[in-house]
């Protein structure tokens, strides 16, 4: 069964064989949940927020979900995405270990983030933010909501130097609620927000990552110096044309 964990269709077939196969297959089958608000063909409309979340909630499957990915393309993901129903569904993700959110509107969640995300704090180990909106402090405040976080991925979609306007005038009174260990893997892609790294060093008391995966990053020197004591593995792409091709898609 483990051999099939990446093959959803085969897992589904296994789960229909008998009860014991269902029990073996179901944790893998519902390991990953994705909502997708990008412009997709009509047959994928059912993936739009909060469709998959609601469906899994109705079937009592959300405690099985270990990885949840929220894909957004043309808008932001802010508090307006939640109402009393969606908040109830989202709160049922009690064993989530990995969370990925596109275009997270961190400034929108500053005052209310605990209400929406606190239930994830005991279990969440990996946070992936694609093009997070907000100032450096606001992003770090969001990261600080998860006191057991080990791995972090910050991903920008292109090589244009992306800097929020707020980077220059940040709210220095905004302090993260906790200091996550962040001893696992740091993945940065097309990353040009050096101030975010500097603030992370200040607010989290340094960098402690054991592994770094860096593609088109403007502050490599700062990161390498910051992790000089702990870094064991480094992945680099000094001249990989494929990554560039795929990034432009």
């Amino acid at each position: 069964m483990v051999y099939l964990i990446y093959d959803t269709d085969s897992l589904l077939a296994c789960s229909l064989t008998c009860y014991s196969w269902y029990i073996a297959a179901v944790p893998h089958l519902h390991h990953t949940l994705t909502t997708d608000d990008r412009p997709l063909p009509s047959q994928y409309q059912r993936l739009r927020w909060p469709g998959p979340l609601r469906k899994s909630y109705d079937l009592g499957l959300l405690p099985l979900v270990k990885q949840f990915r929220i894909r957004v393309e043309e808008s932001d993901f802010g508090p307006d995405r939640f109402n009393k129903h969606t908040l109830r569904y989202f709160s049922a993700l009690t064993n989530l270990q990995e969370l990925g959110i596109d275009n997270l509107q961190t400034f929108g969640f500053v005052s209310t983030s605990r209400r929406y995300f606190e239930h994830l704090s005991p279990t969440l180990r990996f946070l992936a933010l694609k093009q997070p909106r907000g100032s450096c402090r606001q992003i770090l405040y969001f990261i600080g909501l998860f006191p057991n976080l080990q791995d972090l991925k910050l991903h920008y979609p292109n090589t244009i130097n992306y800097q929020e306007e707020q980077d220059g005038v940040d709210d220095v009174t905004l302090v993260p609620l906790s200091v996550p260990p962040l001893r696992g893997r740091l993945i940065l892609t097309c990353f040009a927000r050096e101030k975010l790294v500097r603030d992370m060093i200040d607010l989290f008391g340094g960098l402690r990552f054991h592994t770094m995966d860096l593609y088109m990053v403007n502050c490599v020197r700062l990161l390498l110096d910051g992790c000089a004591e702990t870094l064991e593995a480094l992945r680099l792409y000094p001249s990989d044309p494929y990554s560039e091709t795929y990034l432009s898609q």
Partner: protein
């Protein structure tokens, strides 16, 4: 030979516990000598006393035959494709040999591929390593090279495997 800007940015001399340097197979074989110069510069800065693993990560696109349909191709085209693949692998191993002159390492070939391609990828790497051994191409390495088939990125699923890469259609239980 060294590139000052790259040397400045990727100077690894302060990292004393570095065990593994990873890169992609495609990074090793870019046009001209850019890749070789970059890697030699970076490797020359490593001062960690620990034996360094140089891990070359093969993605799906680096595996021979993936995305190609031999039955639909003319025999001549197929021969050209196979020849191009063989030359690419050979060139990659030659670059690795040159890189070793800058700093010794233990070579690890890692197939980080999607699902069922894993078996095919491992077979291909074994075949390449054996062919290179037969040519005497590994004489510069002190240790046996390793082949692993592993999904090394955190919880690598098809959609998130490649940094920055976004598949058009998600594949997860929610899509069923």
């Amino acid at each position: 030979m060294e590139e000052p800007a790259l040397f400045q940015q990727f100077n690894l001399s302060r990292i004393k516990s570095l065990r593994t340097l990873e890169t992609t197979a495609e990074s090793v074989t870019t046009a001209g000598n850019t890749a070789l110069r970059s890697f030699r510069t970076i490797l020359s800065t490593v001062t960690s006393p620990i034996l360094l693993d140089l891990t070359i990560v093969y993605w799906d696109s680096d595996i021979d035959g993936v995305g190609h349909y031999p039955l639909a191709r003319e025999q001549e085209q197929e021969k050209e494709y196979r020849t191009a693949c063989a030359l690419r692998h050979q060139h990659r191993f030659e670059v690795l040999r040159e890189m070793h002159k800058a700093r010794g390492f233990q070579l690890v070939l890692c197939a980080d591929v999607f699902g069922h391609i894993e078996t095919c990828a491992t077979k291909m790497l074994k075949r390449l390593v054996n062919a290179e051994r037969a040519r005497g191409g590994w004489d510069y390495l002190l240790h046996e090279r390793l082949i692993i088939a592993e999904r090394r990125t955190p919880r690598a699923r098809y959609n998130d495997r490649r940094p920055g890469w976004e598949g058009r259609y998600p594949v997860s239980a929610s899509a069923l």
